[in-house]
């Protein structure tokens, strides 16, 4: 007799698919925020599974900071080609030219992405945006709902969240308001990687280790390339590295790693002792409350 017990990955997959179908059934115009990172790719993979054999019934939006790794763009285009999903690109450089946002002194476009994202969402009339955020990533996220209500400025109010009981999600909004939906809320980094391996999901090759020419700054390793060239007095060295997150190419560091296959990555993640944001994102170290502040402004 069969056990009728789903494994943890299949349970998580089923929950995510349920959430995505719920959004498509109830919201007017959903859209999936696609960064080209592993979490957004897993989300798109789940969307494909949720609606098969039909195509994904909503577009994906890439907020293009102009600071992308080429292999991430290539991977994005492969996904678009393979799934037939509609791609919307919101351009940060173009928004800088128009004066909507200004370049920040530290060169990070992480914060100025937000107005660009909100403008594009408004222009297209998106009332539900899927984001790849996970609750294990950061303390402020641990308290965010799966259906996260945003007012007409796109802001999150942590003290005024809708109770979320059973799997009875409430996506009702007034004109101008919207919801952010996090189908991966209950996944951990290890779940994501184990799922990527189990499903053999196509990712940018940045996530796998290879010999890279790198330079060490403030304890972090940056690949020497057009985005992060060698500065005077620095010396490059060749090390086996991989990326744990994919952000702006001028700010994302890589880590030493020998994980050249997805299976190696799963083993490495199972053993690793640093959260991925703490390890490789310079922009999250600003303050303990950095993420909470950015979320309130409408960031993911």
């Amino acid at each position: 007799m069969k056990s009728h017990v789903l494994s943890q990955l299949r349970s998580l997959e089923a929950e995510s698919i349920h959430i995505m179908r719920e959004v498509v059934a109830e919201m007017q115009r959903p859209c999936l925020l696609f960064s080209g990172g592993k979490d957004s790719i897993v989300m798109l993979h789940l969307a494909v599974k949720a609606f098969a054999p039909a195509r994904v019934p909503f577009p994906i939006m890439h907020v293009d900071t102009g600071l992308n790794f080429q292999t991430v763009l290539d991977c994005r285009d492969r996904w678009v080609e393979r799934t037939g999903v509609q791609l919307v690109v919101a351009s940060v450089p173009e928004a800088i030219d128009r004066g909507l946002v200004q370049e920040e002194p530290n060169g990070s476009r992480n914060r100025i992405q937000t107005p660009v994202l909100l403008e594009a969402a408004e222009k297209h009339g998106f009332d539900a945006l899927f984001g790849g955020g996970r609750r294990d990533e950061e303390k402020a996220r641990a308290k965010e709902r799966v259906f996260s209500f945003r007012d007409d400025f796109g802001q999150w109010d942590p003290k005024n969240q809708r109770p979320e009981i059973w799997n009875l999600y409430n996506g009702r909004v007034h004109q101008g308001e919207s919801i952010r939906v996090f189908p991966l809320s209950n996944w951990t980094e290890l779940d994501i990687w184990a799922y990527i391996e189990a499903e053999n999901i196509d990712l940018p090759d940045l996530y796998l280790a290879k010999e890279r020419e790198v330079v060490e700054r403030n304890g972090m390793l940056y690949e020497v390339n057009g985005f992060t060239p060698l500065k005077d007095g620095e010396t490059a060295q060749v090390r086996s590295t991989r990326y744990r997150t994919v952000g702006d190419a001028n700010l994302t560091a890589c880590v030493e790693s020998a994980a050249t296959t997805l299976h190696d990555v799963v083993e490495e993640v199972a053993a690793v002792r640093l959260t991925e944001r703490g390890a490789t994102r310079g922009d999250d170290k600003v303050s303990e409350a950095a993420m909470e502040d950015r979320k309130k402004e409408g960031y993911f």
Binding site: K2, H4, V5, S7, Q8, A14, I17, H18, R21, E22, A25, L44, V48, K49, A50, F51, A52, P53, A54, R55, V56, W79, T83, G84, R135, K139, A140, A142, K143, P158, R162, P163, E164, I165, W166, N167, L168, N170, R172, V173, H174, S185, N186, T188, L190, D191, A194, Y195, E197, A198, E199, N200, I201, D202, R273, L274, T275, G278, E288, E292
Partner: protein, 439 residues
């Protein structure tokens, strides 16, 4: 384009690190009973805390002049909470052992307590109740247990904490166990377990305590790892609420018509005779599809797509069940509710939007039968309004039939939420059916 499948690669078996199942548990308690420390201990001893998180906790503890790393800082996430030293909301924590992945719904113990506890317990397999060994069973322990049983949580684990402060005395533990058991006998608790622990010292959390040789049960983590939850699920009554109709508008699958949804209960197989509600028409299951191909059976909580042998007009909100085992079709709902809105009370005669499985309708409050005091379990039959964090038994009239079961028999088809039509806020959690408890 001939296919929408993402990968040329064939899915493989998941890595053995994630081959276990999923267990959700809810914890509740106040600042003082050591709940945050207990969770911190579970995360820490199961090696689920990362070096940078621990470093951050140690730094903040030092800045505050604490003598030891305050593990509760791991769970207090929002700046307002840190500034005020309170916990605002339900927080979700994750850890895994080779046997299982655990999702903790961690709920605070102050004023908004009932709302948060109901939220956390709604999906929980286990409720973890903390009792301070020095204080014994207090009002809050009763309230936690009452809410856990009301929400149909099948397993209750009582951790008698701070045993180090009572010299690990067996008599203290036994006294609390007896008192708690006596109180719990008035509720419907299918499985009740007691474990003496010290969260601060680590006794009986992950490893067996050297200090309490008299205790022959398992430490908390082994108990949670071994808890048998498979039989808690309702595999008898087939209930498949239709969530979304998949009808591809593309040349390669033009004739496809599938009913997508999550199996609420029961086991469905191709060839099974089924009944579609509200149409009341019988047909058979032709195929149960997933993106990975058809499956030979579907059970909760699988998300699948069902194809039927006959063309029947079925849409979102409809229910597929077996002809000889149907839910109650009704517009009159008797339910226990928890009110969750701080800005308005529930009053007789008011109309709300109701969401039950995948169906939305409107509902009018016909009657407030009584309000339940969650501390004393006393019924107030003269209540005319129900305020934030209050529980009540009410009667609703719904604009269209719902397909319901008693909550105690089915946590999916027995549950609903009420939504305020003006503010769109979720204002109540409802559990359908007769009184579940002998209070």
């Amino acid at each position: 384009m001939t296919t929408t499948l993402p990968e040329a690669g064939v899915p493989s078996e998941p890595h053995e690190i994630v081959s276990g199942d999923l267990l959700r548990f809810a914890t509740a308690g106040s600042v003082d009973d050591g709940k945050s420390t207990l969770i911190g201990r579970l995360l820490f001893d199961s090696k689920s805390i990362f070096a940078d998180q621990l470093e951050s906790v140690e730094q903040v503890s030092k800045d505050r002049g604490n003598d030891y790393a305050d593990l509760s800082l791991l769970t207090d996430g929002l700046r307002a909470e840190r500034e005020q030293g309170i916990t605002i909301d339900v927080a979700y924590r994750y850890f895994a052992t080779p046997k299982r992945k655990f999702i903790i719904a961690d709920t605070p113990g102050h004023t908004q307590y009932t709302r948060n506890m109901v939220t956390g317990a709604s999906t929980a397999d286990v409720a973890l109740i903390l009792v301070d060994a020095r204080k014994g069973v207090v009002e809050q322990s009763r309230r936690h247990t009452f809410l856990a049983t009301l929400l149909g949580v099948p397993h209750v684990v009582v951790c008698v904490n701070k045993m180090d402060l009572v010299d690990y005395d067996e008599q203290v533990f036994e006294r609390i166990r007896a008192e708690f058991t006596e109180f719990a006998s008035r509720l419907r608790v299918p499985d009740l377990t007691f474990i003496p622990v010290s969260a601060l010292e680590g006794d009986n959390v992950v490893t067996r305590s050297e200090n309490m040789q008299w205790f022959d049960g398992s430490p908390l983590l082994s108990h949670l790892e071994r808890l048998h939850v498979a039989s808690d699920r309702n595999l008898v009554d087939v209930r498949f609420p239709v969530q979304y109709v998949i009808r591809p508008q593309q040349n390669d699958a033009r004739d496809y018509r599938g009913y997508a949804g999550t199996v609420a209960s029961g086991v469905m197989k191709p060839g099974d005779k089924v009944l579609a509600l509200p149409a009341g028409l019988e047909t058979t299951i032709e195929s149960i599809d997933t993106a990975d191909g058809p499956v030979d059976e579907a059970y909760p909580p699988m998300s699948v797509t069902v194809r039927l042998a006959d063309e029947i007009d079925i849409s979102r909100g409809d229910m597929i069940c077996r002809p000889n085992n149907v839910p109650t079709v009704t517009q009159d709902i008797d339910a226990q509710i928890c009110w969750m809105d701080e800005s308005a009370s529930l009053v007789q005669g008011k109309k709300y939007a109701i969401k039950h499985t995948t169906r939305w309708a409107r509902a009018m409050v016909k009657n407030i039968n009584y309000r339940v005091d969650v501390n004393t379990l006393h019924r107030d039959e003269d209540a005319t309004e129900i305020k934030l964090n209050e529980m009540a038994r009410i009667r609703l009239r719904v604009t269209q039939p719902l397909f319901v079961d008693a909550y105690q028999a089915n946590r999916q088809t027995g549950a609903f939420i009420l939504v305020d039509e003006a503010t769109n806020k979720t204002v109540a959690a409802g559990m359908i059916g007769g009184p579940a408890h002998q209070y």
